[in-house]
Amino acid sequence: MNLDFIQLKALIVKEYKEAFRDKRALMAALGFAILAPIMIVVGTKIMIEKSVDQPPVYIKFTGAEYAPKLITHLSDNNILAFADIPESDQAIWDDRNIAIEIPEDYAQNMAEGKPIKIHLKADYTDKAVLVPVSRINSAVREFSMTIGYKRLQLRGVDVRLLNPIKLVEQDTAKPDATFMMIAMILGMYLMLAAFMSGLSVAIDSSAGERERNVLEMLLCQPVSTLKIVIAKLIGASTISVIGVVLLLVLTSISVGFIDLTKIGATFSLGLSSTLVLILLLIPICFFASALQLFFAFQAKSFKEAQSTVTMILGVPAFIPFVLMMMDDRPQWLSWLPIAGQSLIIEDIFKGVDVNWLAVFTTSGVTIAITAVLVLILAQRLKSEKVVMALS
């Protein structure tokens, strides 16, 4: 084994030992990845419930006792009798005054197979009445159809004969605003996870080591500063990659629990798109850690490093947000780190085919910038100002 390899291995093994033994920092890093999917699921559920919720409708029934099954069917659809109304809503529904009249001979006509007339009375010019009325309409029609189908089936007629043509609807409209919101938040979360997860390890292994006086000892050894920087970068970015992968896996499991079809959105984080996301985010993890090491090493103290590096966290949160606001996105934006990845992540969530050229360009640029940061940092570490934290 040659010397370079032995040294690099020793440096990396040591960074890993320190990172994985720092349980508190590790929990903080991975806690973010664990919390995010939970927040997404809960948040989305609330949003979906709001948008597809069927609020109760209260109706003044007359002759309800003649058609108990119909009433049950209606109440299954949250169409309830006026008697059940809570006091707070009473005035509203009294004003809307929707009434249904069920005739006395309902049961008899039903048994004989004669048509039954049920009367629905409401003020159709009142806009507030329209939604409840259409819900009553479709509930009654559904109930009627079910009985009709059963009658035909009893007579040996295939019910499919009633529907010679079936219209299959496909919505080509853009995903609605609610869904775009979810996609944007998730995209931002992924970026933040790349920056957050490795953060404490990056600060600890740079400014922290200098503060604990171990950096000076290390720099007295016959090791090139480039190797030291590379080892620290690998240490911090490994934690960051673990954070991102954990976040993605947990998210792809948890979105299974949300029924997005209710709001007309399709969103799935399949294996292939998860893999593309991981491929896309690994360079970002390295970039984030390199950036954090870069600023942490140049800070004069651990405290200063913490505040500067925390400020960098604004970058991954801010850039996707700005991109959302922009109408005309210049081409070069899609090559830059973070911006490029955000655009591709947006495409993946929209279900648009991945533009591989863009993936490779932006990854390439990200890796190149990371390499430049590493080289500059390795050079800086030779300077007494950085080593001794002199001004």
Binding site: Q221, P222, K382
Partner: protein
């Protein structure tokens, strides 16, 4: 062999030029192989600055340092390969055990496998710290910390050995262990350079003493020569006299 030629170093305060500290002012000396050389000086004399320049942590404004003939500024990595360092400020990796830490530094010097294992076992035995080896260093006492640092500096058996006040905080037993250790290294022909405040130690251990004051050499020679030069019996008195006035040194 460690040589230092005409080192100059100033720390400049950018905001207030008057605040500039001249730490080294033309310091030159040689520490030969097979000898223990002591650097003696009052606080702020430039001892640590000089040693830091030797490791290549600081760059001198003028002059240079060589280790076994290799200029530190030109090829720091090759120069440091022949160097064991016990620095002024030292810390430990608190999440590693003492063994892992020594192992880490041994690997950085390119040691592997059985050779490394034996070297670590040897240094642990020499410094009488086998019991500490597999404990995490987080709760170590000052003396135990010193031992770990010494072990990691010695594990690769460096040809040249630089210690910046190595006995501060050590108890009598540990100091003796260290002294014996240094004597053994000296017998094997290694070059040892150390800075200290403790007169008895310097007098007992050093073949040559270099007295540094105001960033330059105030006097040098064997402890006896220095006493003779100052006309005092005790090294301590000689030291005070020698750094006290520049005129006496010029003679």
């Amino acid at each position: 062999m460690i040589e230092v030629f005409n080192l100059h170093k100033s720390f400049i305060d950018k905001k207030d030029k008057k605040n500039t500290v001249k730490a080294l002012d033309g310091l030159s000396f040689t520490a030969k192989d097979g000898e223990i050389t002591g650097i003696l000086g009052p606080n702020g004399a430039g001892k640590t600055t000089c040693l830091r320049t030797l490791y290549g942590l600081l760059s001198a404004d003028e002059g240079f340092a060589t280790i076994d003939g290799i200029k530190v500024t030109e090829d720091p990595i090759a120069a440091r390969a022949n160097l064991g360092v016990f620095p002024d400020k030292f810390g430990l990796y608190e999440r590693l055990t003492a063994y892992e830490q020594i192992d880490y530094f041994a690997s950085l010097h390119g040691m592997t496998g059985e050779t490394k294992k034996q070297a670590i076992a040897q240094v642990l035995k020499d410094l009488d710290m086998e019991e500490l080896a597999h404990r995490k260093t987080v709760g170590f006492s000052q003396g135990q910390r010193m031992k770990v640092t010494l072990a990691q500096a010695l594990v690769h058996q460096p040809k040249n050995f630089v210690l910046d006040e190595p006995t501060r905080g050590l108890d009598v037993m540990s100091t003796r262990v260290l002294r014996n250790h240094l004597a053994k290294f000296k017998a094997k022909g290694h070059c040892i350079l150390f800075s200290s405040h403790v007169m008895q130690e310097v007098a007992a251990l050093c073949d040559r003493v270099i007295i540094v004051a105001n960033g330059k050499v105030a006097a040098q020679g064997t402890p006896q020569e220095l006493c003779d030069l100052a006309g005092e019996e005790q090294l301590e008195d000689a030291f005070v006299k020698l750094i006290g006035s520049d005129e006496g040194v010029a003679a």
